[in-house]
Amino acid sequence: MESDIKLIDDNGKRLDGRAPDELRKIKIEVGVLHRAEGSCYLEWGGNKVMVAVYGPKEALPRHTQNPLRAIVNARYNMAAFSVDDRKRPGPDRRSREISKVISEALEKVILLEKFPRASIDVNIEVLNAEAGTRCAGLTAAGVALADAGIPLKDIPVSCAAGKIDGHVVLDLGKEEDNFGDADLPIAISPRTNEILLLQMDGHLTVEEFDKALEMAINGCHIASDIQKKAIMDKYQSAPEVK
């Protein structure tokens, strides 16, 4: 959809006042659910997501088992009330694709070989959606996996860059997503900068892509620091291990 909306002003400020390389506000709470083995509640701008991790447990149905390693079942789901027009409950094609790419990204950082025939279930519920829910969900999933005590090589983290009004910027907001030129969500392993997830829609020159990728990696590192602080806060405030 095209529009006359001006997404970035003459001072380089965006609609919500952010600078081009500025993230929206991120807030993370760890271990918020009673039943789940690990959980995380995350707010990222207007996005509100809850993640619960169960496992490792025997993968069912049996034909999904891998005799050499665990599998990750991420299940990304939007609550019916999380968007302007009510969303029909249950998985649709979009949510199944996102579940697949998130599962694949998480598998890279988990020590899967420790748990043959097992599944690790990562339930991602989007309660309020405001552009960038897959990045918010994956970032919260990283925290919930750590909270569940799943052995990880690294805590995965996700962020998007994009292009609006011809400028490469970090972490698109709602209008920027609707009326922008390109969106590039990625996820990385922050310790190595390896890229775990990458999707791109829109139009970028090779130079713009290089710049956007670098900016998104930087955004991932900012989000990664917030992840780590939230996890530390929980375990410092809790004298006894759960």
């Binding site: 019916a80 519920e125 309660l127």
Partner: protein, 279 residues
């Protein structure tokens, strides 16, 4: 099919014989109730309710729709409840099973049959345009008594809900070109206003095992329960809905006792509901 560990059953039964419950409550006592409203900006109304560790988020979406042919001047409502795998390792993804269907239907009837939503005030143009109210219940943490937690969350979200004049103004303005009554409606309702509601009944669930009856079962208690009875009562102490569950039975005396406890707890829960929505 889960086989409840005999040891847990024995332990809880022995406690019950001594008049006690595992978490220290009396038989007629609810767990702690927390209600937070308005947490979902995208929803027209929302609430997060905790009863003990059981946690439910309910969201209300209100959209413009067309009325059913047999009620051309009445708004419509729908309730959906999902037992999503987030809330328990025993909940599976996929189409709703018997338990989720019963839950959604009991919550729906509790709201529909007691006419909490004033659907006759939700008509925009007879036979053409009405407000449709969607109540979606998201169970995110499961430690027993979904019936009461879900129905309380639905009520709190309904009390938090507004008719979204602002968000749907473009659609309403298109409608008023066709229907003069919508024009008048927009003059009378220039901006968002609360969803019109009646006094709500409050739902209280009790279970029975080893001939002991206790209200607001935690998951452990629910797992060994033989029979379950949900009773919704209104401000006047009248009964507005009941649903018995599980393959055990009740005597007439037990039912009367449960009704009494439901009325008593209903009074307190109603106060908490009103407090949370600023009434």
């Amino acid at each position: 099919m889960t086989i409840t560990p005999a040891i847990k059953r024995d332990y809880l039964s022995k406690l019950a014989e001594q008049g006690k419950r595992a978490d220290g409550r009396t038989f007629n006592e609810f767990r702690k109730i927390e209600i937070e409203t308005g947490l979902i900006p995208k929803a027209e109304g929302s609430a997060r309710v905790k009863i003990g560790n059981t946690q439910v988020v309910a969201g209300i979406k209100i959209l413009i729709g067309t009325p059913y042919p047999d009620t051309p001047e009445s708004g419509a409502m729908t309730t959906a409840a999902e037992l999503i795998p987030m809330a328990s390792p025993d909940f599976e993804a996929g189409p709703p099973r018997e338990n989720a269907i019963e839950l959604a239907r009991v919550v729906d009837r509790g709201i529909r049959e007691s006419k909490i939503i004033e659907v006759d005030k939700l008509c925009l143009e007879p036979g053409e345009a009405i407000w449709m109210v969607f109540i979606d219940i998201h169970i995110i943490d499961f430690d027993g008594n979904l019936f009461d937690t879900s129905s309380l969350a639905a009520l709190a979200a309904l009390h938090n809900a507004v008719i979204p004049i602002e968000r749907l103004r473009p659609d309403l303005e298109k409608l008023q070109e066709k229907f003069p009554s919508v024009k008048k409606y927009l003059e009378e309702h220039p901006t968002d206003y609360p969803l019109p509601l009646q006094e709500p009944p409050i739902s209280c669930t009790s279970v029975k095992y080893n001939n002991v009856i206790m209200i607001d079962p935690a998951l452990d208690e629910e797992e060994i329960a033989e029979a379950r009875l949900t009773v919704a009562t209104d401000k006047n102490g009248d009964i507005r809905a009941m649903q018995k569950g599980l393959n055990g039975s009740f005597t007439v005396e037990e039912i009367k006792k449960i009704i009494k406890a439901s009325i008593d707890n209903g009074v307190k829960i109603r106060e908490e509901l009103y407090k949370s929505v600023g009434k």
